[in-house]
Each structure stands twice: as C-alpha cells, then as structure tokens.
C-alpha cells in the first residue's frame, strides 16, 4: 500500500493510541487534516484491513452514534514496516489544533 504523507500522519496517530479507539474529529485535530482528506484515508485503511471500526452510542440524547477507529494487529504490523520507508511525518509541517 502506497503511503502518502497524510496517510502516514493518520497511521502514526492511530499507532500512537495503541489499542485505544479514536474518534474521527480527534484524529483530525491531531493530524491537522481536514475531514475531506481524513475520511477517504480512513476508508482506504479499512479496505486494506489495517483498520477496525465500531459505532458507539452517544452519551448525550439526540446525538447520532459516533464511529471509532483503531489499527488491527495486521495493520499495526504493516504500518510499522511501511512507516520505516514512508515519507516523513507531516505533523511537523502542519498545524496541530489544540484539544
């Protein structure tokens, strides 16, 4: 799988969270990527089997369920291998929004 700098940023953010589930908006804040870039990347990672997802019911009534993401074991292994040869981390090039 070809890893663009944006994909590298997403994979690194997910890898940094280990087995903890991540929200899309949080990933966007950490990587500095806009939703239009982030979600196609997440979808591709899911297609490749690198990502697992689940829906979580919102604690606040009236709000829709949220989608959560984390790397699969296969994804984590493949990411470690690919990240060694992939483009440098774009987090240093992009602004990081405060949480």
């Amino acid at each position: 799988m070809r890893l663009s700098p944006q994909t590298v940023a997403v994979v690194q953010a997910l890898k940094g969270n280990g087995r903890t589930w991540s929200y899309g908006y949080d990933l966007s804040k950490v990587t500095g990527l806009k939703s239009g870039t982030l979600y196609p990347i997440l979808a591709r990672l899911y297609d490749e089997g690198w990502l697992e997802t689940k829906w979580e019911q919102s604690a606040e009534p009236g709000r829709p369920p949220r989608h959560l993401y984390r790397l699969t074991a296969v994804g984590s292994l493949a990411a470690s291998r690919s990240l060694k040869t992939a483009a440098p981390n774009i987090r240093s090039q992009r602004p990081v929004y405060e949480t």
Binding site: S35, Y39, P64
Partner: protein, 175 residues
Amino acid sequence: MQEFLDHALVRFLNWLMLTLLPSDRCDWGIALVAEQQQITDAHKRLTWAVGGMCMSIHEWMHTLFSDRPTWIAALAFGMASAFVDLSRSTRWPYIGLLFVFGMILTFWQPKWAWRWIALLGLSLPVIVLITNNWVPYSVDRFDVFYGLVPCTVGALSGLAFRRASRRFLHKPAGR
C-alpha cells in the same frame, strides 16, 4: 439569522454529500456527519461539512474511473462500432454491435453500467464531431445519438443475463 443560514447550509451540504456518496461508502459519510456534532464553532462546522463534500466528490470520481480494463474495453468497442457505422451504408451492424458490446460490458461489470452505455453510445457522435463527417446524418444531426438505444437495451439484457446466470449457478443441489 446568520446562524440559521449557516445551519441550513451545513444541513444541505450533509444531505448532498450523503446523496452523492457511492452506496458502499455511506457509513463513512454518516460517521463524518456524526463527528460534526462535536464541533461547536459554526465556521469550523461548515468547514467540516465542505470537507464531507470533497470526500463525496473524491469517492464519486474514484468509483467513476475505477475498473480500468472495462473503461479501455468500452472505449475500444465504441470506436470500433463507430468505425463500422461510418463505413457501412446500413445501420444494422452498428446496432447489433452496440447491443452485443453493451451486454458483454454490463455482464462483466454491472456497477454503474451507465458508464459503458455512455462510452459506447457517445463514441459515434464524438468521432463524427472530431472528423466533421456529418454526411450520414445530414438530414437530422440528432440521429447520431441513436446508438444510445441499442446500448441501453444491451446493457439491460446483460444485467438480466447476469442475474439469471447467478441464480442458476447458486441454485441448491437436488432441486
């Protein structure tokens, strides 16, 4: 008032995004909209919704230009059919070819079959326009689009044939 307009625009963009997204990507669109609820700033929420539209366009284009072998085959078939039409005095070989090619392509790749109909049916008008050879269609220039009809019929036949063959192949043994 401004808040109301922003909210309406965001809702419209969300609706458009979910409408444009290919069916196998709908969950991602719903996930994107759900995350939007976490954003309190109206401008950021609008930016997030615009991002969703970008995703829809990206995914739509990705699906449109997927199946490269089928695209190449459809282009080749369309060109060949147009050449046959322009070199023969009768239209029946062209009609027959378009029907058969439409059926083959749709049987092969039924997803977004309108792409193959458009490629096959519009090859002749494009070639006539490029070569400026309107002689066979000098009486009524719109006749040049008639190929879309046999293509559509062929594509529908291909879909029906594919569905029937799948039903036949998956028929449980002993019945």
